[in-house]
Symmetry: C2
Subunit: 338 residues, 2 copies
């Protein structure tokens, strides 16, 4: 089934069930008002939502209405965890190669990068909807999109294996993990990871169950092409499946090494990235890396106020699976100088 | 007022109001069942809880019962954000000095460390109660406690100044930010910040409003002595006030540079640390740093299974303000080998 959260001026919005073709929706009132409730009690609530989903697909839901992505918050408007991997090692290799080609250093990744996933803990108190603006104080921060796949989990206990962790995946969606590239170098020096360089993350209009995905969900990976369209120009057609070095079960198990993962945790794949540059890019930093490797310096600039980004994945039938993330970059009031 | 969350086998527990002297409590049923609800709608709900608090203190609450810290979850058993600072720069200096004395390197901190707070994003989906066990897979991880002060916020908008951010502090509590020291070096090399090295964080039995703290809350700092007792031996009597380099408003404003902070965010001070070593230590890593500086190598070992840690702060009247964190370190089933 497909689930979304409609804006209603509350913090958690209203849970809606969305038809397979994303044309209609129906409030889940009477079953659950918030997605977190469903995740807290999945075995009881999800069959009821599934029934409503089937009725809706059959055109028999009595209070169905046309579905509008612009009315959506993130499927989970706020979550208890956002842990983002960098599971496409090609992305890591590319950025490192560009950085080191600039300073003539060895660009080989440490061996452990292929066995031990890179993951960072992100802020999850203020997720934004698929059509909400990306609000940034200054273009000088180096505004970049990052097209990703993300999953929402059940409870997964400390010590779970990657295969056990796969069983804890409830829903799949897309994410735009906006990054402020020019704030990253100073944060790397501090050693405490990304912080100010990661503003609010946006998610696709709908989150989709694994049974609904069918055979495009395989081995803990989403085997679909992620399309990134920047200012109306298609810049990325990257395969999100085969080249994902660590699958989602491995990412979740990485967290579980020292703690429990609780229901409603959101786990990201990191920028979807392919070895073959003809697939394009899912973040501008990669384009700039390629330019640096080829010409010694980057040519493409980061996003400006007014820029738009669209992120979408289509199924074998050509239909949008998760709906599209469609955001515009806008300026906030300038931050204080403290 | 003083608030706590009682265990009831649910994920969020039951909100209780606790008397000033921590002797009695009363369910907040009828006002709110969960602390997050109160934070979401503070101006409406907090006066009602304050009324109940006064009735309870006057011995007039009809269904009061003896308060038991062991029945407590963390005041917020799960939160939408946990951002932990390292606001006592003495802690940072000490650990750096020890590390560099071992490798004969310059130990001066970069100037920016005194103007730009160190903060990391932590996991907030699985906080643990004040008397819950610290569950770790292996002593070889280098198990350490970290005695801290933490606050819970209201909504604070992007761009807020440190002074504006101070207005967004709702509650104060204590934290044990357990750290797995031997997992930190490898995570530092990866550059994505702490992750597996930070297991579940524990919080004091009660969270306390600023008006209740009176003049020990000043300038965004808690002017009380934090007592750390390891295996029954008092090892730390550290002042949590004057030497906090960055106050809580500065820490919150640091987050607000690029995003909104939403109600129920938990912000930590980092290990409370004093320049005068006679105050002792609020984490074992500092003791080992001092030993390294003095003798070239650390002598004190990290925590073993069965070890206990008690963290508490007493008011001017000698009474416990937040109740005590009292935890035992225990072994989990061994983690998988993936």
């Amino acid at each position: 089934m497909k689930l979304a959260t409609y804006k209603d001026a509350s913090r958690d919005g209203q849970l809606v069930v969305v038809s397979r073709d994303l044309s209609t929706a129906h409030y889940a009132t009477g079953i659950a008002s918030k997605l977190q409730q469903v995740l807290d009690d999945w075995n009881f609530m999800s069959p009821q939502l599934q029934d409503l989903y089937e009725t809706l697909n059959n055109g028999k839901a009595r209070h169905a209405f046309p579905f509008a992505a612009a009315q959506c918050m993130a499927p989970l408007p706020r979550a208890y965890q956002w842990a983002d991997g960098s599971a496409f090692i090609n992305h890591v290799e590319l950025l490192r190669r560009a950085r080191n080609s600039a300073i003539s250093e060895n660009s080989e990744l440490p061996f452990t990068f292929y066995t031990d996933p890179l993951m960072y803990q992100g802020g999850s108190d203020d997720f934004i909807g698929p059509c909400d603006d990306v609000v940034v104080a200054s273009e000088a921060f180096g505004i970049d999109f990052e097209a990703e796949v993300a999953v929402i989990t059940a409870d997964v206990p400390m010590g779970a294996s990657p295969n056990q962790a796969l069983e804890g995946i409830r829903l799949v969606m897309l994410a735009n993990d906006v990054s402020l590239r020019h704030l990253i170098p100073d944060e790397m020096v501090k050693g405490f990871g990304f912080f100010q360089s990661k503003p609010a993350t946006a998610f696709s209009p709908v989150a989709v169950t694994l049974d609904e995905l069918g055979d495009v969900w395989k081995g803990g990976r989403l085997h679909l092409t992620l399309q990134s369209t920047w200012n109306g120009r298609k810049v990325g057609m990257c395969d999100a499946g085969d080249e994902m070095t660590f699958h989602f079960g491995q990412l979740i198990a990485h967290i579980c090494k020292t703690r429990n993962v609780r229901a409603g945790s959101v786990i990201g794949s990191g920028t979807v990235s392919n070895k073959d540059w003809r697939h394009g890019y899912s973040c501008i930093a990669e384009k700039r890396a390629i330019e640096t490797i080829e010409d010694g310096q980057p040519k493409t600039e980061f996003m400006k106020f007014g820029d738009t980004i669209r992120i979408e994945a289509k199924g074998k039938d050509g239909q949008s699976v998760f709906g599209a993330i469609e955001q515009k970059v806008v300026s906030s009031a300038p931050p204080n100088d403290a």
